[in-house]
Symmetry: C2
Subunit: 716 residues, 2 copies
């Protein structure tokens, strides 16, 4: 064990700061694997070798030009590829991916290889890119391996046909020939990040967003930032909700509470949009030309089509006609989704019907049996909805893939809308049904409270307990794996010669992290927040303590999510983002609907009706609430318009960049065009003008000569 610890230190120091003691270590183990690829045990040798060769082949020969070390353990029949790349390859890749870094003038600019000198921190090119960026470059390199005309199937798997332009690695993953593909964690850095992030002593500090971004990328950093800001934004409604709860019923109380909540949701969402834009600007994901640059973004790896050329850049890329996607959407997606939503809706109706039937027909006064009987429909509904949800999700993902969106952001947004639609029917329509069809205020309160609290308890259990269990399990796995790694290390050393330069530490780390779960993406987390947001704002006047519950839940959520992120899941590849995507409008729609629901709820509340002047007609009462609704909507719209989406300083910076780009384009154009050519043209023009003048003069002089001739002749 002593030697293990020692080696650990050596490895870390090699990775972070070469000290005297490990000088030799640094030099002779320069290969640093960044990404691990595990082939499925017993997958065909030919397929493994083909991919490995592709990964290593130079890019001129349609390869990825990566450094690959293979490790096949004799006993488990498992082949693992340790993938790294030279600094040059990584920098070239970073340039191609337009990764942005701080320029000497403080602005962020796309990396330019020939201009690296002017970027900050470019003294040590090996550390110019963060590990996360390097891993992304490698992934991009792997993803851009696309089948050529001749490569019609995966060697060893003649049935797994490829077509030109299909991403090879995606095929390996979808056919499960590659069982695992993940970037390695940086233990040291992760530990420091975790210390700041989820440990108890920092519980009331803000999250280290900058460091999260550096380690996990913009997309995940935005999720945590949104979760944090959303949780904090719940404090005022929670406080006001408590005050509401303990204050006597009055028209004034109802109006203040409802109006505050309704307007607050807009302030929060607009404030977030603004904050998000400044974060993204700092992180270089707000393009200076936000508007139309998507036309020359590269398509996602799963995007398929016939190989053609990008209409803007002229670079080769798969082309898929838009009308096909539109047709697929209207003829396939729309009917199927509508059918699923209808099923969910009728399931809900069936539930209400079953419950009513049970209450009416089942024998009452039987104690525990009655309770059981009465619970039966609810349990049945929960089970059916759970099953339906799973089926629906599978269908939604399949349909979304089938639609073949060109950009990852477009793919994500379409998936988000599909997920939201189902949850809407599932979680909210039944509340609408209770509130506005059954008009049962008491049932609505019970329902809301039950849904919110149970979902949160279940959620917390899943998110705080399960990670703890995972932690325990992994600890055991660590020990087991360590022993196994020590054992197998001896074996492999004899078997494969090529991998002797992969550090033993990396092998262990790869083995350990290979056993961890894949991060399932942030959509489920957002969805959870979304439903909670709906519970809090849609019916806030019926259940004013919702904000308090949600706030308490979220303060735990932030930490349990961050713990999972660091300790439970494999490191995810970083992803770019410049907003939370379709979630932003989705939250805004809830904010909008909540105005309608709350005005209706308050208007329907008999308590409130009693507070109004008794001589008021029912029609006038309705009109007052409609007017109130319109006024609140107008206020919300004005707030949304008045809070600029992009902070002034970001606008200034972007404008500066735009201006620089324009000036550069101008300079470029003038340099491109041959100056001497222009000069020549001007000279020719001048000459032509002169000629005209001379011609005119000569004509004049001709006239003069004629005159003089005639003058001469005259005397004769």
């Amino acid at each position: 064990m002593e030697s293990e610890a020692n080696q650990d230190i050596t490895h870390k120091s090699a990775a972070f700061s070469p000290s005297n003691g490990s000088q030799e270590q640094t030099i002779f183990s320069t290969f640093e694997p960044l990404v691990i690829l595990e082939f499925k045990p017993k997958s065909k040798q030919a397929a493994q070798e083909w991919l490995t060769a592709k990964l290593q082949a130079p890019r001129t020969e349609r390869g990825a030009e990566l450094i690959v070390k293979t490790n096949t353990s004799e006993n488990s029949k498992e082949t693992i590829l340790y993938i790294g790349a030279t600094t040059e390859r990584l920098l070239i890749g970073a340039e191609e991916m337009k990764i942005q870094k701080t320029y000497r003038d403080g602005s962020l600019r796309d990396i330019s290889l020939t201009d690296l000198d002017n970027f900050n921190n470019s003294e040590d090119l090996d550390r110019f890119l963060t590990t996360a960026e390097k891993q992304r470059v490698i992934l991009k390199g792997m993803e851009s391996l696309r089948a050529s005309e001749e490569e019609t199937f995966i060697p060893g798997y003649p049935k797994n046909s490829l077509y030109p332009g299909k991403s090879i690695i995606k095929k390996y993953l979808s056919r499960n020939i590659v069982s695992n593909l993940f970037p390695l964690h940086e233990e040291e850095k992760l530990k420091r990040l975790g210390d700041e992030w989820y440990t108890m002593k920092n519980y009331f500090k803000t999250q280290p967003i900058e460091k999260i971004q550096e380690y996990f990328g913009v997309k995940i950093a935005l999720y945590f930032s949104f979760l944090g800001i959303y949780s904090i934004s719940l404090v005022p409604p929670a406080v006001i909700g408590v005050i509401y709860f303990f204050s006597p019923s009055s028209m004034y109380r109802e109006a203040t509470f409802a109006v505050f909540n309704l307007i607050w949701s807009t302030v929060f969402l607009e404030g977030w949009k603004r904050y998000c834009n400044s974060l993204c600007f700092k992180w270089g994901t707000v393009d200076s030309s936000v508007s139309f640059s998507h036309s020359f973004e590269e398509p996602r790896a799963d995007y398929y089509g016939t190989m053609g050329r990008n209409l803007v850049t002229g670079n080769p890329e798969p082309v898929y006609p838009k009308w096909k996607r539109v047709l697929k959407f209207y003829l396939v997606t729309l009917p199927i989704i509508s059918f699923c939503l209808t099923v969910a809706f009728f399931t809900m109706l069936a539930y209400f019907w079953a419950e009513a039937w049970m209450k009416k027909n089942a024998p009452q006064n039987l104690g525990i049996i009655t309770t059981m009987n009465n619970l039966l429909p609810t349990i049945g509904y929960a089970v059916v909805i759970g099953i339906l949800n799973n089926i629906y999700r599978t269908i939604a993902v399949k349909l979304n893939k089938y639609e073949n969106h060109r950009l990852q952001s477009s793919y994500d947004n379409h998936l988000i809308v599909k997920l939201i639609l189902f949850e809407f029917v599932n979680c909210f329509i039944c509340l609408f049904y209770v509130a506005f069809y059954l008009r049962d205020r008491a049932l609505l309160k019970t329902f809301l409270g039950t849904l919110l609290v149970t979902q949160q308890i279940v959620g917390q259990f899943q998110e705080a307990m399960v990670p703890f269990f995972f932690m325990q399990r992994r600890q055991k796995q660590v020990d087991k794996a360590l022993r196994k790694a020590e054992g197998s290390a001896a074996v492999t050393k004899e078997v494969t010669e090529s991998d002797q330069d992969v550090d033993k530490m990396y092998k262990k780390q790869a083995a350990l992290e290979g056993m961890m779960d894949k991060w399932p993406g942030s959509n489920d987390e957002y969805l959870e927040m979304y439903i909670q947001f709906g519970y809090v704002y849609l019916f806030s006047s019926a259940f004013p303590l919702a904000a308090l519950w949600a706030m308490l839940n979220n303060f735990i959520e932030v930490r349990s999510d961050s713990f999972k992120m660091c300790r439970v899941f494999q490191r995810p590849f970083v992803e770019k983002a410049n907003s939370i995507g379709a979630w932003q409008p989705a939250f805004e729609v809830i904010g909008l609907i909540s105005v309608i629901t709350n005005c209706a709820l308050i208007g329907m509340d008999p308590e409130v009706q009693k507070l109004l002047p008794s001589d008021m007609s029912a029609v006038n009462m309705v009109l007052i609430f409609v007017a109130a609704e319109h006024i609140v909507l107008a206020i919300k719209a004005s707030i949304a318009l008045l809070i600029p989406d992009v902070p002034k300083w970001v606008i200034l910076q972007i404008a500066k960049q735009e201006y620089a780009a324009k000036q550069a384009l101008r300079k470029q154009m003038s340099e491109d065009s041959c100056n001497s050519k222009f000069m020549m043209k001007r000279m020719v023009e001048a000459a032509l003008k002169k000629k005209v003048v001379l011609d005119a003069f000569s004509r004049r002089s001709t006239v003069f000569r004629n005159d003089s001739q005639s003058a001469v002749k005259e005397p004769l």
Copy 2:
């Protein structure tokens, strides 16, 4: 007269195509005045000379570097400047103003002097810019004459103080030292344009928008384009309105008509936005970086402040702190405007009160006297509102100037909002009052019909008859001026030597056009359309024939406006625009409000109420109309979202330009940075690496040597 006509032809051919006959003429009268500046008669000689010198001075000496010919007619004491510029000066100015021209690849690009070669039609540089563009360049040159630190007043006018950064020409204009500043018309071109535009034979053809843009600039072309499209968009509502008028009352009729109108207004406005964007793209006013380029647009000439630097470009420009503008807005503008609107509102109330009082108290049955008495309040109201309107407009313009907006577009938009607010109270609030407070459907119909028809008849009279009268008057002026010009020509020839090279024709043209009215801008025309749009859509279910009236009116309006544009007014300087500015949202707001008003109108209609099931409660009825309103609003919002604001082909083109700019910036960066420096750095790095390796080797060899030494020692 014969020689006059002859000279006319000579002049025209000189301007358009040099023919054989006028070869000499072309060469010896190359000076073409483009802009005319008239000093006020009896203005101080010193002020005239100072400005003239400034206009002529080279730009290095803070001048405008223009060619100026002076003409002082002895009898009228009037000094006229004929202003032109060399082709070089015009091209330099065009480059600075970022005028866009077609590049050889078909795209529009900012003119670049060193790259002129690659622009289409750059063979003849004298005609590379249109006359309108040249005139704009000259105006810009004049406007950019700004007072320096030392120039504290206008010579000859010690009381007219200047401060550093103030536009000198604007001061001359505002102090009325310069009485007239206008670009000359191009008779030939104008005649051809008019033939296509307003003559009877082309009455049912579309307007020659491209030619209008070339002659009058983008802003005016957009106005006429909008007027045209709006008029055409009125055809479906007009047709449906007529059908409605002649069909029997039914729920179906009401619903169809209202829903069609409400949704149609959105389709029209979204369609226009899209069309406008493609027009602006074609005309080069959609910047590829639409979003933030306003930060480096140049401020308007009236903008004042201490001389500082633009935060983006670093160019010197007046700087005015934003908080001052905000303070002015909230502390001065807002209270004054609110006061004005309140006055207008109470005037309206007073009118209704007076009318009711008159009906009640004035002796009836007195025939003509009764009618007169009953008309008194209406006449009084019309007079008072007319006066108030004039006062308000003066105040609005003054306040808007006082707010000191940096950009012309921002100035325009703030003025538009101010104008709209007053008209809203003036024209619409009284209709709201009748419709929803008095709930007098019959009165509403009468009111709407009267307002619409009288306003249109008065408007048509003003716009079609007055121009005709002008035409007549001008014909006389032409004759008078011609005689005068002939008379004075002889006088001036002796008096001033410098102006003998200003063509006689230009002098006449300048004298004639100087007498024409200044074009008052398009705001009043938009306002007229806006009020009409409100009459048509806000209460369409009360007065369904409004669209027909409006349509008929507008088809005349297009032609009378175009006639005025060409024949009645001085040529305006062209102005850039990339939309119809604040009018777009203003029209959209009407579209939005019309949903509310129409749903309410239909809901309140006793005819409609009779058509509903009789057992329906009043509350449910209200709820149905509220629900209908929400559904229509949702449909409108979806349509607005689904119709992309920018057509696909424009997006592609802009993306291409953005991509080119990015690539150029990248190339630029790499060229700017010293390549050899980078190479050197890499070499040094390589050397350093080698050194580390060598060091390690040397240490190894030391070890080895030690070993060998010990090995050597051992045997000993």
